[in-house]
């Protein structure tokens, strides 16, 4: 894949605060990359650095194979959409869309052509002569997207474009952005702290924490094989169940023992080989926990007391007291149990992930072991 945006050794400081210290990121041409992370982790800062809107301390920014580290925002071939829309309040929609083209000195007919095209794509034709104050939130954000669209740029930057909108509009516009990406094939870098947006839109997700990219891979990989407990806990709702325990090795068998006498035979997990005596966290997502008894001899079987039942329409979350904490079980349909019931449940070994208790890092098969198996 050709590289569209490359960031090398980026460092950014605000006064004495080092927000980003050494960050690398490679985004392929036409790729949809989502920057995901908790508030204050530096997502907007990174995006602003790509756009050239803030000064960086160290590093390089490359866009479309040009080193743009010292270039003006307008010369970087980017368009940007902000959470607060940032439309020019005194200009009509048409003027908002054409302002950048006018500044660039584009001929009138070309400007009109591009504005017309963008307006058609975003269903703004009927609104062209309105002022931003006369538009709804969703319409305003479409104008803001249009403003980036008319510039015919290679890279689109979105900074939480949907977070000012209500849930319904957010869904609509999310689909629209996805469609836009499929139509245009531009590179898009999209900041959000909404995991649904991240999972649905992204080709790849970069999960950030405290100015560091913790994991950069496909939504599937991030969801099913999170690199550490932070990512595992950040994505998915309710979050992944984490059960603390200790591994004990006896001959060729490995046992995971938690509190309250919880014990699983985890010999079938190759990544745990040689980890006897280690304190670990067993992670299992709520939707992979199944209510009822299992006949599968390999399944991890458990028992617990239901403390809360949360019906959510399409499915139900059941909170069970198990191994020293509340564990979530997501079942489809209406609840079949109620608070106070003692229930059996089980989960398959292949859905389980183990993390180191100290570092929170996922325990993976080492290269040597991978060779063995």
């Amino acid at each position: 894949m050709q590289t569209s945006v490359a960031i090398k050794d980026l460092a950014i400081e605000f006064g004495a605060v080092k927000v980003i210290e050494k960050l690398d990121l490679d985004v392929g041409r036409g790729e949809f990359v989502v920057l995901l992370g908790p508030s204050g982790c530096g997502k907007s800062t990174l995006l602003n650095a790509i756009a050239g809107l803030i000064d960086i301390v160290d590093g390089e920014v490359w866009i479309s194979d040009k080193n743009v580290t010292w270039s003006e925002p307008k010369d970087r071939g980017i368009g940007m959409v902000f959470q607060s829309y940032a439309l020019y309040p005194q200009m009509s929609v048409r003027q908002n869309l054409s302002f950048g083209l006018k500044v660039a000195g584009l001929p009138r007919d070309e400007t009109e052509k591009r504005v017309g095209k963008a307006a058609a794509m975003l269903q703004l034709e009927a609104l062209l002569d309105r002022k931003p104050s006369e538009l709804s939130g969703g319409q305003r954000q479409r104008v803001a997207i249009g403003r980036a669209l008319v510039r015919n740029v290679d890279v689109f930057l979105f900074d939480e474009p949907l977070s000012n909108l209500d849930a319904k509009l957010r869904n609509e516009l999310r689909v629209e952005i996805k469609r836009l990406h499929q139509e245009l094939g531009n590179t898009m870098i999209y900041v959000t702290h909404d995991q649904i947006e991240a999972l649905t839109l992204a080709d790849r997700i970069a999960v950030m924490r405290k100015g560091i990219i913790e994991q950069f891979s496909t939504p599937h990989e991030i969801y099913h094989r999170p690199a550490n407990t932070f990512i595992a806990g950040f994505i998915g709702s309710p979050t992944m169940n984490f059960i603390d325990g200790k591994l004990t090795e006896a001959g060729s068998s490995m046992t995971f023992s938690g509190t309250e006498g919880v014990s699983f035979d985890v010999s079938r997990h190759p990544e745990l080989a040689g980890s006897g005596g280690r304190d670990v966290i067993l992670g299992i997502r709520p939707e992979h926990m199944v209510l009822g008894e299992s006949t599968d001899p390999e399944a991890y079987k458990a028992k617990g007391k239901v403390s809360v039942v949360e019906p959510m329409g399409a499915d139900t979350v059941i909170w069970v007291d198990f191994a020293g904490g509340m564990r979530a079980i997501r079942m489809s349909g209406d609840p079949t149990v109620s608070a106070g019931d003692s229930v059996d449940f089980h989960f398959p070994p292949e859905r389980v992930g183990f993390f180191d208790q100290q570092s929170g890092v996922r325990i993976r098969i080492t290269a040597y072991l991978r060779h063995l198996y």
């Binding site: 756009a51 925002p73 902000f82 309040p89």
Partner: protein
């Protein structure tokens, strides 16, 4: 329907009053409200009384004024004093009325208001959006300057303007007004721009607009409320100025306030109270009009600009 009524005790009455609550809450005139209104009305009368006396006096002939009934309505209504004040009142040897001062004041006012606001808006814009190095220090210095009594600056300023060759000229007084207006105007615009989303500026930068284009195309058009406030502050402030006009404008260009003082204080024979009052009202008319026409904007702008930040 059959409703049995038993003698209610006081507790049930109170409870049922609450239960009956429905719809718009009734406004009740409390003692505190009455006191507040009484105070406001008294204060209004107190301040309006002199204005009333001035107006009445200006509309009376001198014979009637000599009677001394200052609160009485004029028996013979005459606008002669007003006409005389405007076109033929004397200051020293010149008897062209206060209209001369009026036009001088206009000539001083218009460019002074324009340039001081332009400078303040530009300063505020640059400080809010362009992270100019040392901007905060500069701003602090500017504000500090605003708190020094401006009489202190007079002598150095006179020397400076004389050196520049603008002493005793309209240009000179305009420059002085612009300088003295700068701290407040900068503060006003800086606070206003600090309240605008920074993304507006960023979006314009991505659209390729530079310093001036962002200022004229994006920031100024959104600044109408604060410009109106600035105009009110500057029009009233500059119009009411006496000392700067006296010192810097020169004999030919003395503003209305200075001329009014000369008219009122030139005692040759009897004091023409009606003319003096008329001249004074005429001089005060411009700021008064300014306040009356803009009351709502003024409050809104002050609330938006000055309190924040």
């Amino acid at each position: 329907m059959n409703v049995s009524v038993s003698a209610p005790n006081s507790a049930t009455i109170a409870a049922s009053a609450v239960q009956l609550a429905r719809g718009r809450k009734p406004h009740r005139l409390t003692a505190g409200r009455i006191g507040l209104y009484a105070f406001l009305i008294t204060a209004a009368i107190f301040f309006l009384l002199p204005a009333y006396v001035m107006l009445m006096t200006s509309l009376k002939p001198m014979d009637e004024i000599r009677d001394g009934a200052i609160f009485a309505f004029p028996r013979t209504l005459t606008f002669e004093a007003w006409w005389a004040a405007w076109s033929s009142a004397c200051t020293g040897l010149n008897c062209n009325g206060i209209s001369v001062g009026f036009w001088n004041s206009i000539k001083i006012l218009v460019p002074s208001v324009f340039f001081s606001i332009a400078a303040g808006a530009l300063n505020g814009y640059a400080m809010s959006f362009w992270r100019v190095k040392g901007a905060n220090l500069l701003f602090a210095a500017l504000l500090f300057g605003a708190f020094i009594p401006y009489q202190v600056f007079m002598y150095p300023l006179v020397i400076m303007s004389a050196t520049l060759g603008v002493y005793n000229s309209i240009a000179g007084i305009v420059i002085v007004h612009t300088i003295f207006g700068m701290p407040l105007m900068t503060l006003l615009f800086r606070n206003y721009y600090a309240g605008l989303p920074i993304e507006l500026f960023k979006a314009a930068r991505i659209d390729g607009a530079g310093f001036w284009r962002i200022f004229f195309w994006v920031m100024l058009p959104t600044s109408t409320p604060i410009i109106i406030v600035a105009v009110i502050l500057q029009v009233t402030g500059i119009w009411n100025d006496f000392m700067l006009g006296l010192i810097f404008a020169g004999r030919e260009n003395q503003p209305m306030t200075v001329q009014l003082n000369n008219i009122v204080n030139s005692v040759t024979g009897e004091r023409v109270y009606n003319l003096n009052m008329a001249a004074t009202i005429l001089t005060a008319a411009v700021p008064l009009l300014c306040y009356f026409l803009s009351g709502r904007w003024f409050v809104r702008g002050i609330a938006a600009g000055a309190i924040k930040g």
